[in-house]
Every structure is written in structure tokens, then in C-alpha cells.
Homo-oligomer: 208 residues x 2
DNA sequence: GGGTTCTGTAACCGACCGGTACGGTCCGCT
DNA sequence: AGCGGACCGTACCGGTCGGTTACAGAACCC
């Protein structure tokens, strides 16, 4: 009698998955710090014990969310790569174009990974750790692509691109949809040109 | 008898000022969301009523802190401008160099304004409003400087610089002191060169 | 049919959150 | 001398935070 035993009951996803998806949506909209566990389980139509059975703590739920978001990030990168196989320059441009396009979406709120790093400055937070880890790997990947296109200073080029990419994410949050992201494509083209122009004056450390 | 009436009593700053300075330090280190009012007043050697009498609410204290941080930002910009009067190109480079240098400081945690925008996605937060306002003005100022150096597309140049500047701030938090900020100077030089090189192919909208 | 797995109910915890009513102390002014 | 206001601290408020417990019911598989 205590249990009004779940109205439809069937075709419902398991509680852990509902919680994960609901938390993802809420975290994206309001930031993981602003969303409480009570709100998550209430919105998901689940209960706190289910959350803690599946994830152990709110911090670990955040880490799981970060992994999901990182997977999306990698998917975007790989889509850009497969869109122009064996043309690293076109891959980079396609990736940037994708980021700019999604930053123009109404509800976009930058990069979940970067936001989490900002929200949790303490270096021991599991969500922050996961986010930083993926960002390091992104840096490596960009370096590989910079090398693949025979950039004169691949590390500098990759880091310059990283500055622009991260800039796209936060400026979206600061300036809204009409923000500086619109200049990203042109900036990337200029940087790529500067790093791959033939026989320039050159003359800095060859390791860059 | 209830009041052990303040040991030294003299030469102490007023409570409001102690609270403001203490809050600033704590907000910078841990983020304004992670710091509670109890921690602020305890660290400042003050009490909560003093905080609420002087600032009205925690949100307004955050807004006051943002104003302080914005003043520092403007001071940095004006220092760069007066360091190279009537040479907007050198001013931009000096400003970027200053940002990179301070991003290499041990305890640096990016830009307080940008961080606050990330921490408070809701558009009605007084701290966020103040931060966005100053960032808009920064955008205007960069456009003026871009025009002053006769850039071919001053708006695009200014926005490109903004992407790099914001990129410096967050990548500092993601990658630490050895991060992509080191590539900023070179990237800015490349962008300035691309926008001011004489008689290039040109051919885009003249309003940019 | 019996065990296992998954889930919800309901109550609870200590800590901390932002915020406030009230009373005291000290000062300058008249 | 006396008074008012600026300033500040003590003590307390209700609410919410993340996290936990014991228990009960439903569905599934053998």
C-alpha cells in the first residue's frame, strides 16, 4: 500500500540513467554548483538513494557528467577529422566552424569542462580532474595536427588555436550570441597562414 | 560585560573595508560561490551584521568585488596605453604581455570577471551584470584601438584579440603556468600583421 | 516458488547557508 | 553634563545543503 507502484512502469529507463541525463541537462543550464541533488532527483523522477547507489557522491556524478561531455567533445573533433581526411588544415577549420556554430545556439553555455575547472578551483575535485585530463589530451591532439600540416612551430600553433577555442567558449557566455566568436574563423585562418607560409624570415627556437 | 571591547581598537581599518579586502582575497582564491559569508567575516575579524549593513547582501558584496577587479583591469590597460603613447600596436602588445606575465604568477586564477560570469549563469545576478558591463566596454575599447592602428577590419581584429585574451585567462586555470598563454604574444603579432599588412587581396565586407 | 536485483518511501543527520533582532560601546556635538 | 547617532558584536533564525539509514515492494530469472 505504501507503493503506488510506478504508474506506467514499463519502457522507463533505469533510475541511474535518468539521473545522469537529468543532471547533465541541469548542469549545462545552471552550472553544477548551482544545482542540488534534491533538484536533480526530483526532476528525474527518482530518489536520492538511487543517486547515491549509482554514483556515490555528487562530486562523482559531476565527474561522470564530465566524461559524457568529453565524449561529445571528442566526437566533434573526430567528425571534423573524418570530414576532411588527410587534410589537417581543413580538419582544424571544420572543427572551429563546428564550435562557432554550436556557440550560436540559443542555450549554449560554453564548454562544460572549462566551466567546471572554473567552478572548482581546488585541484582535488574529481570533476575538475577529469576535465583537465581531457583538456590536456586535446592539447596533444592539436599539436599532432599542427605537426601534420608542417607548421613551422607546431606547439605554438596548437597553443594559439587552444587560446582561440577557449575564447570562443567563454565569450559566448559573456557576450551572448553576437559575440567575438564570429571572428574565430578569420583568426584561425590568419594563424594557420602565418605558421605555414613558405620560407618566412624564421629565426626562433626550432623546438616550438 | 558582554563585549570584550576590541583589544587594540585603534589603527584598525573599518569593518566594511576589512570585509571587502578579505572577501576579495577569498573570492580570488576559491571562487565567490565556494566562499560563505561566515568564512569571510571570520577571516576579516568582523561579524555578519557588519557585512550586511555595508553591502546589503552577499550578491552585492560580489558586485562590489567585481567593481574593484574591473578597476584593476582598466588600470592595466591604461598602463599599457601610457607606456606607448600614440602607438596603438605597441599598446596592445604591452597589454597582452602584462596579462601573460600575471598569468604566470603562482596563485593566478584567471579573470575574476569571466569567472563570475561562468559561476553565475543567471543573467540577473548583480556580480554577473557588473562583469558583463565592463567586458562590453573592454570590447569597445579594443575596437577603438584597432581602428586607431588602421586595421583593415577593426571589429574582427578586436574580437580576435578578445578571444585570445579570454583564452589566456581560462587556459591558465586549466593548464597551470606552463599553458598556452606562452603562445599569445606570437598569435597577437600574427593577427596584427594580418590586419595591417598593406594592400592584401582584401575583399570582404568593409564594415568589419 | 525463491532468491536476486532494482527501486521508492520516509525519516533523519550535522553542517552550513544567507539574513536579522537586539543591545551595547564610543564618539562628537551642544 | 547630556544626548543622539555611527558603529559594531552577540545570539539566533529558518531553510537548504550533501549524505545516510532501515525498510518494503516490484520485476526478473532460474
Amino acid at each position: 500500500m505504501t507503493t503506488p507502484p510506478d504508474p506506467p512502469q514499463a519502457d522507463r529507463l533505469p533510475a541511474a540513467q535518468r539521473i545522469r541525463e537529468t543532471a547533465s541537462a541541469l548542469f549545462l543550464r545552471h552550472g553544477s554548483r548551482a544545482v542540488g541533488v534534491d533538484e536533480i532527483v526530483a526532476t528525474a523522477g527518482a530518489t536520492k538513494p538511487s543517486l547515491y547507489r549509482a554514483f556515490g557522491s555528487k562530486d562523482q556524478l559531476i565527474a561522470a557528467w564530465i566524461e559524457d561531455q568529453a565524449a561529445l567533445m571528442w566526437a566533434g573533433l573526430e567528425a571534423a577529422e573524418s570530414a576532411a581526411p588527410s587534410d589537417p588544415r581543413a580538419q582544424i577549420l571544420a572543427y572551429i566552424d563546428g564550435l562557432v556554430a554550436q556557440s550560436e545556439a540559443k542555450a549554449a553555455r560554453g564548454c562544460a569542462l572549462s566551466n567546471t575547472v572554473v567552478e572548482y578551483p581546488r585541484s582535488d575535485h574529481p570533476g575538475r580532474l577529469a576535465a583537465v585530463d581531457h583538456k590536456e589530451r586535446l592539447r596533444k591532439r592539436l599539436r599532432e595536427q599542427a605537426r601534420a600540416m608542417n607548421a613551422r612551430k607546431p606547439k605554438k600553433l596548437a597553443d594559439s588555436l587552444l587560446l582561440l577555442i577557449e575564447g570562443i567558449f567563454i565569450t559566448r557566455q559573456i557576450y551572448g550570441t553576437g559575440g567575438p566568436a564570429g571572428a574565430a574563423r578569420g583568426a584561425v585562418e590568419a594563424l594557420l597562414a602565418a605558421h605555414t607560409r613558405e620560407r618566412a624570415e624564421d629565426g626562433e627556437t626550432p623546438a616550438d
